[in-house]
Symmetry: C2
Subunit: 560 residues, 2 copies
Amino acid sequence: MKSDIEIAQASKLKPIHEIAAQVGLSAEDIEQYGKYKAKISLDVYRRLEHKPDGKLILVTAISPTPAGEGKSTTTVGLGQALGQLLENTDQNAMICLREPSLGPSFGMKGGAAGGGYSQIVPMEDINLHFTGDFHAITSAHNLLAALIDNHIHQGNALRFDVRRIAWNRVLDMNDRALRQIVVGLGGPANGVPRESGFDITVASEVMAVLCLAQDEQDLKERLKKMIIGYNADKAPITVADLGAEGAMAVLLKDAIQPNLVQTLEHTPALVHGGPFANIAHGCNSVIATKMALKLADYVVTEAGFGADLGAEKFFHIKCRQAGLSPAATVVVATIRALKMHGGIDKSALATPDAEAVREGLSNLSKHIENVQMFNVPVVVAINQFPTDSPEEIAVVTDWCKENGIPVALSEVFTKGGAGGLELAQQVLDLVNTRPGSLMFLYNQEDTIQVKIETIVREIYGGDGVQFTSKAQTMLKRIDEMGLSHLPVCMAKTQYSFSDNPNLRGRPEGFTITIRELKISAGAGFIVAITGDIMTMPGLPKVPAAMNMDLLAEGKITGLF
Amino acid sequence: MKSDIEIAQASKLKPIHEIAAQVGLSAEDIEQYGKYKAKISLDVYRRLEHKPDGKLILVTAISPTPAGEGKSTTTVGLGQALGQLLENTDQNAMICLREPSLGPSFGMKGGAAGGGYSQIVPMEDINLHFTGDFHAITSAHNLLAALIDNHIHQGNALRFDVRRIAWNRVLDMNDRALRQIVVGLGGPANGVPRESGFDITVASEVMAVLCLAQDEQDLKERLKKMIIGYNADKAPITVADLGAEGAMAVLLKDAIQPNLVQTLEHTPALVHGGPFANIAHGCNSVIATKMALKLADYVVTEAGFGADLGAEKFFHIKCRQAGLSPAATVVVATIRALKMHGGIDKSALATPDAEAVREGLSNLSKHIENVQMFNVPVVVAINQFPTDSPEEIAVVTDWCKENGIPVALSEVFTKGGAGGLELAQQVLDLVNTRPGSLMFLYNQEDTIQVKIETIVREIYGGDGVQFTSKAQTMLKRIDEMGLSHLPVCMAKTQYSFSDNPNLRGRPEGFTITIRELKISAGAGFIVAITGDIMTMPGLPKVPAAMNMDLLAEGKITGLF
């Protein structure tokens, strides 16, 4: 089989205005960025606001393992399959995905635009600068940082405590040397020396804000609320205090518009925003999802990491804030990954082992239970690999049937939409007969502590929560600041239900330690940090960058 | 009169494919970025390579003063006026300008897209992210920086001396706190601690490289030659040694294509690249200029700062490397600025003072002599202000006529192209009767020392050059490295022919001190630094950002 980039480069794309026309958009509704990318004006949403929404389908997964699950590939493949099933009907399907981060592309090999015959294209553009959204977010974030240091340098009227600035700078680059730095050296002309650092752009609160904003006005309101530091009395200083939200919004005026692209089979896809899935909520923008629900009858989207993190945050943060209610959830699993959850080492995954698959079902079943707790029905997608044996697959399908869970094999990687027709049919049957109606596991009025405990006990299956003294102090401060009504954004390892990445399957008898709490007042959540969360990745020994090249006539090699 | 942004927002733009059609380009030749911006494929140049070039007209100016000269406005206005004059002929005109830097827009008020009724539009986009070129350059530059620090962290096989890394990071932001920093703090996981800093993106050698490259292949060759540090034996380490040029070129694949926009009067304009005018050569890309010369009969372009810096570098660096020969040069002057060169303080410029204007002619006359030394004929444009008295204007026009220099009043700021018809006619007459044929003031084989001395004596009118011991050491090293054949890029104050910004007019009896020499081996020049050159600006007490806002429906206020 060809590589992802070979498949993508060999594909015949439709001009983007034809894709737009498929969902009823005129040339006036879009701004083309080259022949195959476009931004959609928010006026389109305002015009269609009265229309009933389409049905929202969330794709999530079991706890990730090094074996890979193929969540994005399944999302794209399911969208393509729905497109095939609906071809001669008056209904249509659309996909919503996150934008990939540029920096990591040059580190580890691997794109974020699906794979095989289920990709969004033009994949090189999507994985490089795309329509510049992340650059705009980087600029807005760093403008704020420059304004903060300039404010201090020019007299510090807001009395920032330079030891308590809560705003790093960002770059869309894997650059460990910038994690911890000292700025403002070299004398009075260069500002005030202080400790600081850079995060990767996807970890910026501006990214989370943009992805949760309903429109330009809401964007500005959220920007204003962001806490950028504390004064000598430890009182928070916000963007509103500095007056920077207008200039930041100016920089974000195009970035807030969702981007339209297509899949290899010409299914329309909105690819917009990409917040971190640990210190943020990890899904594409609210604006893109809401726009897609006006433009299509079925919208397939995904959430970062496994369902314990991705789906929980999708429901409790994104859906709650935006008033969305998914009709169904697809939980993606692979035989290989289930074997790892069943205790098998990565090196032994090629050997059939039905018993290990059965063991690993503990992980899948807990994720299914969790989604069902939100009153959203589940379809299981087995993302098939060539090494999967019929006995292994039967373990999963039999178990699903015994438990009344719709299940389908998915071969979208090798076959495109045609490999996902059974899955698509299962999804259609489900959402048209017994769609979900989202319920939440905690109330907004619950304290932050109660919210965290609810997630740990009910979703993770843990025995309880420990708060460090630092976290306890923050709990009190959050309460004093009147922010206890915010939802919680858990920053936990994605590899386990527990906070120990080595505990695969369905661990029991563990507690979770909350090391620290971080206020994202603009995004509108409290981040509960359970371990060391890396907000600036590093490059590996041999970065993927070393294999990349630009050949004559602008052809790229080595990118995935 | 309305503000620049009000005029720009009130203007009726043509769809960019119509502008493209004006210069013979089809929809296939361009990639649209929204409705009013497009990138032009380099294939267009390859297709038209056999066509004879149009005539190149350089717009330059007297030494800048706080009174302002209006060089960009004159460039745009002259292009518009040529468009009007040529309207019913089979000839056409085009403009080539630099892209403005995003960062400074949020510092001091003031755009870089012309002014009044002589602007390029859409001015907000051009002054904000435009087509993302500067973001791509920032990414490519910082990828290289991350790869350098990662190389050191992973074992330092190239034996970088961490005290002699010659590669900062960049941001397109005015951020003084980043000028001098310490990176790599926080323990072994975060890399190796060392001193470093950030420059503004326009100061990146990647910017200069992109602007001097002939095509993708030349871009990579230039990137490879860039010196990024020195090893323990003080031998240079280049991008080629690290192997990063391919990945950098991948990031620059779109940025290398020139951007097509239009003026308020629909004159086609290529706006592409914007290197610093001090530590780099300060003019738009070679690719844009060469492309424009294939698409139009007359191409108006500009160079940064006054003619002593901008025109000299345009001729000696850009024209020499690219094989260009300008047919004429327009030297822009204002009565106000001439009065400042004649000794008048900024506060007294509104008072008519013909004698001060006469005194100030010393500055204009020296710039004219300089351009003529390159065998390029001169037209003087007096960029008119409401406060200019007829007597003051007569001083300049009379002097020009006495000396056989074509001269014209320009009212392009208030009247658009109609205000520049006389100027345009003078230019047409000149380039069609006695066009220039570029000669150089020094030979490539001259030593760096001789090249600098030639510029100082002949262009600046100085008595000689002093080299600090640091600079002398560098002269020797450059010679040992076999780089003496490169042209010199002078980094000197733009406010005076001397290296003392307070010496206006035509100072005499001064020497120039070369403090330091910097090798830009990729760009292909040696930077001779005469004073403190600021490569990362700061924000003022009240940054322009504070007045900016994004209103409902995406309208911007406060940007210029």
